[in-house]
């Protein structure tokens, strides 16, 4: 029988995950209130914060798994599942709305064939909303895999996505 908590099952990724979690803890051991820096490091290394890493972090930091899960789920930036190779974040805030941001968001939805917080059916890209990239004088703005793009249009977005292989 397989259950999600069946820890005896061999998972080739697990060792990698444990090592990333342990390294993050070691790196920030001397800092007070270090949970956010640790979670950032884990997500940077693994693309997300998998539940098996949470268990390691909990025992290393003497917190409950629920406490760590509570922190992960509170912050929009932290993910429990790995996104597609292309992470497209479209700004949905007021300044972008004033410059056609809603139309751009609709275009992104159509282009990827999915809604916000979802991924394209072919697994190429994940679409996320973001509330302000601080590029409000050059709206609308998006971020693709952490790189900012301002004064976007539907055509420009297509070019950027195509350049990323989408």
């Amino acid at each position: 029988m397989h259950t999600p908590s069946d820890s005896t099952e061999f998972d080739p990724d697990d060792e990698f995950i444990q090592r990333a979690a342990q390294q993050a803890v070691d790196r920030h051991r001397s800092q007070k209130g270090n949970l956010l820096p640790i979670l950032h490091d884990v997500q940077h290394a693994l693309g997300c914060i998998p539940s098996s890493a949470v268990a390691t972090l909990a025992s290393a930091l003497q917190l409950s798994r629920a406490e760590i899960h509570g922190v992960i789920s509170f912050y929009a930036h932290f993910r429990s599942e790995r996104p597609c190779p292309i992470l497209l974040e479209v700004c949905r805030a007021e300044a972008c709305q004033a410059m056609g941001g809603d139309a751009l968001a609709d275009h992104a939805r159509r282009r990827l064939g999915c809604d916000f917080h979802q991924s394209a059916a072919n697994g190429s890209a994940t679409l996320e909303p973001v509330y302000c990239l601080g590029l409000c004088a050059q709206s609308p703005a998006v971020m693709v895999n952490g790189k900012p793009y301002a004064r976007m249009s539907a055509d420009k977005l297509d070019l950027v996505l195509a350049a990323e292989g989408c």
């Binding site: 912050y75 929009a76 805030a93 007021e94 300044a95 509330y131 004088a137 900012p148 004064r151």
Partner: protein, 522 residues
Amino acid sequence: MNTRIFVPRDTAAIAVGADDVASAITAQAQALGLDVQIVRNGSRGLLWLETLVEIDTPAGRIAYGPVQADDVPGLFEAGWLDGSPHPLRHGPTDEIPYLKNQERLTFARVGIIDPLSLADYQAHGGYAGLRNALAMAPEAIVGEVVDSGLRGRGGAAFPTGIKWKTVLATPALQKYVVCNADEGDSGTFSDRLLMEGDPYTLIEGMTIAGIAVGANYGYVYVRSEYPYAVDVLARAIEQARRTGWLGSDIQGSGRAFDMEVRTAAGAYICGEETSLLESLEGKRGLVRAKPPLPAIQGLFGQPTVINNVISLASVPIILDKGAAYYRDYGMGRSRGTLPFQLAGNLKRGGLVEKAFGLTLRQLLFDFGGGSASGRPLRAVQVGGPLGAYLPESQWDVPLDYEAYMGISAMLGHGGLVAFDDTVDMAGMAQYAMEFCAVESCGKCTPCRVGAVRGVEVIQKIRRDDQREHQVHLLRDLCDTMFSGSLCALGGMTPYPVLSALNHFPQDFGLPATQPASDEATA
């Protein structure tokens, strides 16, 4: 001859291709056998001109913009290294009216210096304020900040010096300085421009705060949407530490102060000071009830100065030139300058640092050049997602904390987002409630539940489902959120909602009569 070429590395420039421009310049100069040195400066804040490239000529810095990588060969051909004419040339940067008509105190160095060069920083007056502070008693430093009239630039406008005084007077073995760089408001980017363009100013301001109140450690809490700002600050802190501007014995003074950058994680609510402190402690960003004030029991339960980036970055010039110099700018109880951020549907968006007292109309038209779309401007949201929407009849009210409070609006962090006449204000009111629902920390009921109900009620108004009755409910709900929320998120979401309803009733399907009394808001 070696010509210096300034190509901004600010996110605003990178987002429109500045890195490609820099590469194109290097490649073209090499091909032509010309000796150029590229300096990656901050942004001048003339954001419609980004990428704004400046050539250092004997006649001063000459501006060209907006430059795309494709323009570079033609610019060399036109002789831009000598400052020659070209359709993209704007003449000496300092003479561009948008820049010339500003009063840059806090942003004096931004865009001018190499952000990470300590030599450049000091050559332009950097660390003069801290040098003065190191020779002063803590009470005298705090007194100077009190006398300057500086108020919290994050939005709440609480007098900075008074906050410091409380921390100084609270005995503790450990105190902290926390910088709130969780600049989440739409329409604002001044914190980012400063951190990326002149990070040592913030470090200097925090160091002064530390020695003034007896805190030896500081945190800058920067939003995760600003990865470049995090990187620039981390490198600047490292260099300041290496050169003895941070550490256990600052420049041989015997005073100690050190600091680190912390990256936020995408929660708007963490811009609220107590929620930010929870986040720094490694917890969910739930708002704390006040009292106790953070100045008495803040980070890890210790007395904590918590100020916005612009407040802290304004401290060095106050300690350098004196409280009176800063206080002489401004009007009424709003002293000094505010870096206004012109955003949304404007022809010339960017950063305008001016003394308090000018009007929105001046910013929108004299600086902003009117709408980008060419259509009439209709509404301007001032102060972020929790700020009111102002109709044209209010654009001549002086930009001053008290004057804005008088019209049930707020200056906040100085951001303004302009909308043309295609905007649906009922839609914007609904968005304000949706935003509050998404970003609520969930601790108090008026905000957590009120925002969700607010969205539903506005939807009903928009589809004419018992419209009059729902409008009454919406006002009642706003009153509950305003009076009963724990922090400004729930407490101020009524500002954009009610200002939209009062000033633009026709968008809600209501008769365009006299706007309802402003007292309904407050």
